[in-house]
């Protein structure tokens, strides 16, 4: 560095120090309310599609807001398309994202679990013991599994019978390794949950991907879906695809055909249903769900286990200044999808920026569009456009729907391409 440059650098540094001191002095003189208005604090709990998208959009909407994103894991494993890891179409690494770019954009990362919320004092307690004060809190905790929903299944049992249904990459990897290690001729049992649940087509896409893998690698093996329901989303599209691609490999047992699980024996590797007893080689048990733990602690979940919100601002109907977005929120007819979560994050950010600015948030219109990849070059989708009607999201009449039943292979291949494109674009927007 030249002498001249050193002088310049020194001068700049002195300027910054002087300015910072002046700012602090002025801030100290301001009444609390004015200070809060000048630099509002938003804490966002949960760094998935909804929470991270909200952090990114809020940063872009208003540079003055102090934003902290609280997330326990340093690496996020994205659930959409993760069934492709089981099918051998994708690597787990393609599902994983860090928070460096979000931090670089000016969001403070707090890598810890949120353990408590004081809605009156407006602060969040972290597992580190730190307390983060907020003006507005956004909870995007995703789902928590109901460990008591299936007799014989538990959090401990998940180490042997993976659910692979959260953003825990180790669970997906465990399921993948179990299927790869199983002898040809074995049975993979998938226990599908009741609604409402995260990613309604997910269990059926998963069954398809596992069948795809078995068909070429272990052709004497089978997949059975033991379902707590009598119908599911995109049902006819899935059934047609299975008949075409995986006849004699994949079987769906509905509730009324005896799919309801009565008991699971982890040691004996058996699942007892209302009518039958299944001896499995690998079991993927997806239990019933509810909003993530912190939603209960914050008092924003109702008796259903999910969180009622105002559809315009996503503010909790049970606690002021706390917003709930993503899978944890009750969003009417909208499915619990990553697509919807990412959009909810943006809308919640816009609403919060408006509320801080003293403006009225606009009534939103939302889209959810979910792809299910049933084979390479073969995807199906369900789309919906939603708007608030009488305080709840309803589908806009005449819009949305599923892929046509009679589409040509080129159409299915195009949808598979769009599934990939959506994933790349949305994860780049959020994490890139």
């Amino acid at each position: 560095m030249t002498a001249q440059a050193m002088v310049r650098a020194g001068k700049t540094r002195r300027h910054i120090i002087r300015n910072a001191a002046a700012t602090a002095a002025v801030a100290a003189l301001w009444p609390r309310a004015v200070r809060a208005q000048a630099a509002p604090r938003v804490v966002i709990v949960g760094g998935g599609f909804a929470g991270a998208s909200c952090a990114r959009a809020l940063r872009e909407a208003d540079g003055r807001i102090a934003i902290t994103l609280v997330e326990a894991r340093r690496i996020y494993t994205a659930p959409p398309l993760s069934n492709g890891v089981l099918g051998g179409l994708r690597d787990l690494g393609q599902q994983q994202f860090g928070y460096d770019k979000i931090a670089a954009a000016g969001v403070t990362m707090a890598f810890a679990a949120a353990t408590a919320v004081d809605a009156q004092a407006r602060n969040v307690t972290l597992s580190t013991g730190d307390k983060l004060p907020y003006d507005r809190l956004v909870l995007a905790p995703g789902i928590d599994l109901r460990w008591d929903a299936l007799p014989g299944y538990s959090e401990a049992a998940a180490a042997k019978l993976p659910h692979a249904w959260t953003n825990d990459g180790a669970q997906i990897d465990l399921l993948r390794r179990q299927i790869a290690a199983m002898d040809d001729g074995g049975l993979v049992a998938i226990v599908a949950p009741v609604n409402p649940a995260r990613c309604p087509p997910g269990p059926y896409e998963r069954a398809s991907m596992i069948a795809h893998y078995l068909k070429s690698k272990k052709p004497r093996s089978k997949v059975v879906i033991l379902d707590a329901k009598d119908s599911f989303t995109m049902q006819q599209l899935f059934l047609n695809a299975w008949q075409q691609l995986y006849p004699n490999v994949l079987e769906w047992k509905s509730l009324s055909s005896g799919g309801n699980v009565a008991a699971i024996d982890v040691a004996k590797k058996t699942i007892e249903t209302d009518f039958d007893n299944y001896q499995f080689a690998v079991a993927n048990v997806i239990p019933a769900q509810k909003a993530g733990k912190i939603a209960m602690a914050a008092g924003v979940a109702d008796r259903t286990g999910w969180c009622p919100v105002d559809p315009v601002t996503f503010e909790s109907l049970q606690q002021k200044n706390i917003h709930v977005i993503g899978d944890a929120a009750i969003a009417g007819a909208m499915p619990k999808s990553a697509f919807a979560g990412a959009v909810e994050g943006k809308l919640c950010a816009a609403a919060i920026a408006n509320l801080f600015a003293g403006a009225t948030p606009a009534v939103p219109k939302l889209v959810s569009n979910c792809y299910s990849v049933v084979a390479p070059d073969y995807a199906i989708s369900i789309a919906g456009v939603y708007h608030p009607v009488d305080g709840q999201y309803m589908e806009v009449a005449g819009s949305g729907g599923v892929s046509p039943l009679d589409a040509r292979p080129a159409f299915r291949a195009e949808e598979a391409k769009f599934a990939d494109a959506w994933f790349r674009t949305t994860t780049a927007e959020i994490f890139g």
């Binding site: 889209v367 005449g398 819009s399 729907g401 927007e429």
Partner: protein, 96 residues
């Protein structure tokens, strides 16, 4: 850039940042960038920012009336009114 878009851009530039945050992005836009990249894209999934507003309106109308073949945009376009489509198109046209 059209004169109308230039005027809109200038008007936006003159507004304080927080008012911009309040008025930007009409209903529906939050969902577009999930699939349509902010920059780049390809003919099947084009970037929308900076595109001519008339083109966007025409495309949405063609999707809505099933005149233009689509995998999913026909299903999505049917959820939007003329006014909403016009607002979305104007907003995207004003983006650089």
């Amino acid at each position: 850039m059209t004169t109308k878009a230039t005027i809109l851009t200038l008007a936006l530039a003159l507004l304080p940042a927080r008012t911009q945050a309040a008025m930007l992005a009409p209903p529906g836009v939050a969902a577009c960038t999930g699939c349509h990249p902010r920059s780049g894209g390809d003919p099947a999934l084009p970037q929308l920012a900076g595109r001519n507003a008339t083109e966007i309106v025409a495309a949405m109308n063609a999707f809505r009336s099933a005149k233009r073949p689509a995998t999913v945009m026909d299903r999505i376009a049917k959820g939007f009114t003329d006014d909403e489509i016009a607002a979305i198109a104007a907003w995207y046209a004003a983006q650089r």
